[in-house]
Symmetry: none
Subunit: 223 residues, 2 copies
DNA sequence: ACCCAAAGTTAAGAGAATATTAATAACCAA
DNA sequence: TTGGTTATTAATATTCTCTTAACTTTGGGT
């Protein structure tokens, strides 16, 4: 199935230009003209990639990006900013908010398509890896459930993400810091005990022995 | 250890600018001024990232990139092109030849460092999952495991760090002073017996003969 | 062989990190 | 909004690591 791209810009000309060129390459395109619309359409269409202009009325691209990143259902989505040359600050903010790439205007169609192809190729490779089987546990990102020796468990989001992280590299010790970065994100600030509490909840459900504590270091999942 | 960046550009000013800014961020930088030199230095220094100008005398960046990609010993290396605005063709060729990113001139230091950090962060996490194999012992930083002839041992943090230090250079004698500096840090003050006690605990677990005492000097790990 | 500084040993207590519990806050769906 | 679930925090308990002190042993130098 064709990969989907959501194009967001308040200048209609640019939207058309992009849409024309990308559809020629076989991508399915959707469009939006401001941040709010972008977030709504992203939730609705679940595109693979969002091309997001930064300067827009109502809600700017940075904010839209932040909201999209927060959305559970839009996890592996790629976001690339469209930015005019010279918007130095925005570029930095863009990366901090989790952009995967940014593309400078004026847009050169051949460059654009080449670049997008490269981006989406990476993505395609990632995506197929969403069912984890470790020992007697199966963790499935797409259905969001954990199956332990035949029993289906339901974990809330944070617990799921945390378990998924640990189980994705069995044996590897994750420090509290890296757990925070990966499960909670870089900008939030939560107290350390929060992690313990989540670990405890998970242990309650899957058994104590599967997650080990390495005191002074972190946690790891063992088979 | 600091991550290494190889900067390649024929314009000395640009090389200096990049070097200055990246070293300020704590990266170790090497430089080259043309494609041939770049390939040679890449093989020699094994950088984590190559910043590669496209237009250069002797051998251009595209060709250099191709050669680096072919080199077995340089597998996981990252390559980002430096490209002047308007070099449309080159950008496309760059992606086709396997660039991970490209950065447009004129270079804005804050954007550059922000971007490079994002790139290298991904990489660092992979690399650091390295294991040390000395004789019949395997010491794995990422899992915090010490495996002795198949048996998995769990050492507390300090013991682990100490063993890791000694085992990282088998045969080398570490003085008490340097052990303190590296395992405990420069500012703390602990009594000398503390080291003995830790050594003892380690010896208990891995056997006496693997860590030798050189009286009046220090300790060393032997195979 | 003796002395003495350096290293080894042991056990106990301080201290730090994590576990647990319960209460509160944020969130989401009906 | 409301009711129910999830997330976070605070307070307290528990566990394990680290350090120390006191004492013993070792081994090189005279």
């Amino acid at each position: 199935m064709a990969q989907k791209i959501l194009i967001v810009d308040d200048e209609q000309d640019i939207v058309e230009l992009l849409k024309y060129n990308l559809e020629k390459e076989g991508y399915k395109c959707y469009t939006a003209s401001n941040g709010e619309e972008a977030v709504a359409k992203a939730k609705d269409k679940k595109p693979d990639l969002v091309l997001l202009d930064i300067m827009m009325p109502k809600m700017d691209g940075i904010e839209a990006c932040r909201l999209i990143r927060k959305e559970d259902s839009l996890q592996g989505i790629f976001i690339a900013f469209l930015t005019a040359r010279g918007e130095e600050y925005s570029e930095i903010a863009g990366f901090e908010v989790g952009a995967d790439d940014y593309i400078t205007k004026p847009i050169k169609p051949r460059v654009l398509t080449s670049r997008i192809k490269a981006l989406l190729k990476r993505k395609k490779e990632d995506v197929e890896s969403n069912e984890l089987v470790v020992g007697d546990i199966t963790i499935d990102r797409s259905s969001f459930d954990v199956v332990l020796r035949g029993d289906r468990l339901i974990l809330p989001k944070k617990e799921f993400e945390l378990l998924y992280l640990l189980a994705s590299k069995p044996g590897k010790v994750y420090t509290r810091e890296s757990i925070l970065n990966k499960v909670w994100g870089t900008d939030v600030s939560v107290v350390d005990r929060t992690i313990d509490v989540h670990i405890r909840k998970i242990r309650e459900k899957i058994g104590n022995e599967r997650i080990q504590t390495i005191k002074g270091v972190g946690y790891r999942f063992v088979v």
